[in-house]
């Protein structure tokens, strides 16, 4: 019986559809998580950087991204998919060997689409509050095709070199998604440079309730992310679900504890950030470890990511929303700890990849740990270098950063001509608290405010 002869399972399909919806919802969740952290004047620009990726990659993935990532391997090198699936040709209703043979291939495709959407959106935290919107869009498109699609092929496709040759395992994307986004974030933070006023003026989160809302949606959606990666409503999915919740819980506690210890106050932002760090770290491990070990992974990730953020704030790197410290460090932690804590017993029934892996603490020795490390060591530099290259080119051609005046005015007004909040009553008359810091032009005719609020002169940014 070939895989495509397996009858479809309505139960498995139901779960993968629900999971896909949950993962899609994570991207707005990320938008709010990030949006709450930035200053009032940049909240729309920040939200937009995630939201518009749902549009951009949502279309690109169908057109070509899926084919590059999951199309039949080019020459068997394990590096990239071919163009057989362009426009979703040949991606049909039948079962598919990739994940869960009992669900339609199209279900696997759309589930993966949600991953392809959120990964580039994660990077945007590194250059918050200063990116020009036009070049930003090109960056996202290029990154999706030049970085995400190949790396997803290496790690997730059964013919990818990391999956098939190295036999590194990555249940739901610790390497392919979080390490990948973290490395890109490092490159981006360097390329974009520091925000005006960095370390000179406070850049407090403008709405911490929005941060918590975002983190909550992320936690909720992450059940789809990890448990949906089982491709079936199977015991493995149940276990992935359980360890996801457990690791998030442990990491939230750990981060709150660290902030309490180091600053004297248990931080609410820390609870949200900690939960995300735990979710990141459990992602690669979620199909392979048991609940008690999830507590360990979560707690370790919470502590390490806290320390990474703290260390980062002492450097001069303006990775504004700490993508490197949370997704890079958290993803790496999870990828490596998978090699430590994986236990074959947990993976019974994992489809396709990674079944039967035993890590360091389960009699597997350093073998799997090593494979995991290779995965990380391959993905991180690739992502870093290509990201640098893309941004360098874009910077030379268009400039990737807004002008200083636009940065002072904020992305909302300068890039989008909109302001997020009008709280002061009926229109601008009573809009006293809504003092928008508009930018000024020394020797131009129009006044600063006029310019900031007027349509720009017909040119894309």
């Amino acid at each position: 019986m070939t895989l495509t002869d397996i009858p479809l399972s309505a139960g498995d399909t139901a779960w993968v559809l629900a999971a896909s919806a949950l993962v899609l919802f994570m991207t707005p969740g990320l938008a709010f998580f990030y949006g709450g952290f930035v200053r009032n004047k940049n909240v729309l620009g920040t939200i937009m950087q995630s939201f518009v990726v749902m549009g951009l990659v949502g279309v690109l993935w169908v057109l070509i991204g899926y084919s590059l990532a999951f199309g039949p391997d080019v020459k068997g090198w394990g590096l990239i998919g071919n163009l057989d699936f362009v426009g979703l040709r040949h991606v049909g209703a039948l079962g598919n060997s990739q994940a869960g043979p009992a669900i339609p291939a199209e279900a696997f495709m759309i589930f993966q689409a949600m991953f392809a959407i959120i990964t580039p959106a994660l990077i945007t935290g590194a250059f918050a509050e200063r990116a020009k919107f036009g070049p930003f869009l090109i960056f996202m498109a290029a990154w999706s095709l030049l970085v995400y699609a190949p790396v997803a092929h290496w790690v997730f496709a059964s013919s990818g070199w990391i999956a098939s040759d190295i036999k590194g395992v990555d249940f739901a994307g610790g390497t392919a998604i979080h390490v990948n986004a973290g490395a890109a974030a490092l490159a981006a933070a360097i390329m974009f440079g520091r925000r005006k006023g960095f370390k000179q003026e406070p850049m407090e989160p403008h709405d911490i309730t929005m941060v918590v809302l975002g983190a909550s949606i992320l936690w909720f959606g992450w059940f789809g992310f990890n448990a949906g990666s089982a491709g079936a409503a199977s015991p493995v999915a149940v276990n992935a679900f359980t360890v996801t919740n457990t690791a998030a819980a442990a990491a939230a506690l750990a981060w709150v504890g660290m902030s309490w210890w180091r600053t004297g106050k248990p931080s609410v932002v820390g609870a949200a950030a900690g939960a995300v760090a735990g979710l990141v770290a459990i992602t690669p491990a979620s199909g392979y470890v048991q609940p008690m070990e999830a507590i360990g992974i979560g707690a370790i990730a919470g502590i390490l990511c806290f320390l990474a953020v703290q260390w980062r704030t002492r450097t001069s790197l303006d990775d504004s929303l700490d993508v490197v410290a949370v997704h890079g460090v958290g993803g790496m932690t999870g990828a490596l700890l998978t090699g430590v804590f994986a236990v074959a017993a947990a993976t019974t029934g994992v489809n396709a990849l990674g079944a039967g892996v035993n890590g360091l603490t389960h009699g597997g020795g350093f073998d799997q740990l090593w494979r995991q490390a290779v995965g990380v060591l391959a993905v991180a530099p690739y992502s870093f270098v290509i990201t640098l290259a893309i941004l360098k080119v874009l910077d030379l051609v268009f400039g990737i950063r807004v002008s200083e005046e636009d940065e002072v005015a904020g992305l909302d007004v300068s890039q989008h001509g909109e302001r997020a909040y009008i709280f002061g009553g009926s229109g601008p008359v009573l809009g006293i608290p809504e003092a928008i810091p508009v930018h000024m032009h020394g020797d131009q005719a129009g006044t600063a405010a006029e310019h900031a609020l007027q349509p720009s002169h017909g040119r894309a940014q």
């Binding site: 952290f37 003026e201 902030s259 953020v309 704030t313």
Partner: protein
Amino acid sequence: MKKVEAIIRPEKLDDVKKALADKGFIGLNIVGVTGRGVQKGIVHAGRAGQAYSVDMLPKVKLETVVADKDADEVIDIIQQAAWTGNIGDGKIFVSPIEQAVRVRTGERGDVAV
């Protein structure tokens, strides 16, 4: 008439309002300001609790217009009620008001305040 403007700590506002009302000074206005003085504050921000020193702190400005003869009493009431003895307690300024009008009745002068 005199306008008495007092820039005080927000947490002292209730005490000041009460102290004024006890002596019969009801009419007043409050406006939120951000003030700079000798005092500095510290704010925590971000995931690892980075601390920033801030040179501008939220204050409350209380404005009340009173008859000339009442100005000194009002100053004293406010100064006592707003006092903590620490840097950042604020200032009181007095300026002349030449005319006051009650919109409802059109009355002018001391009776209007």
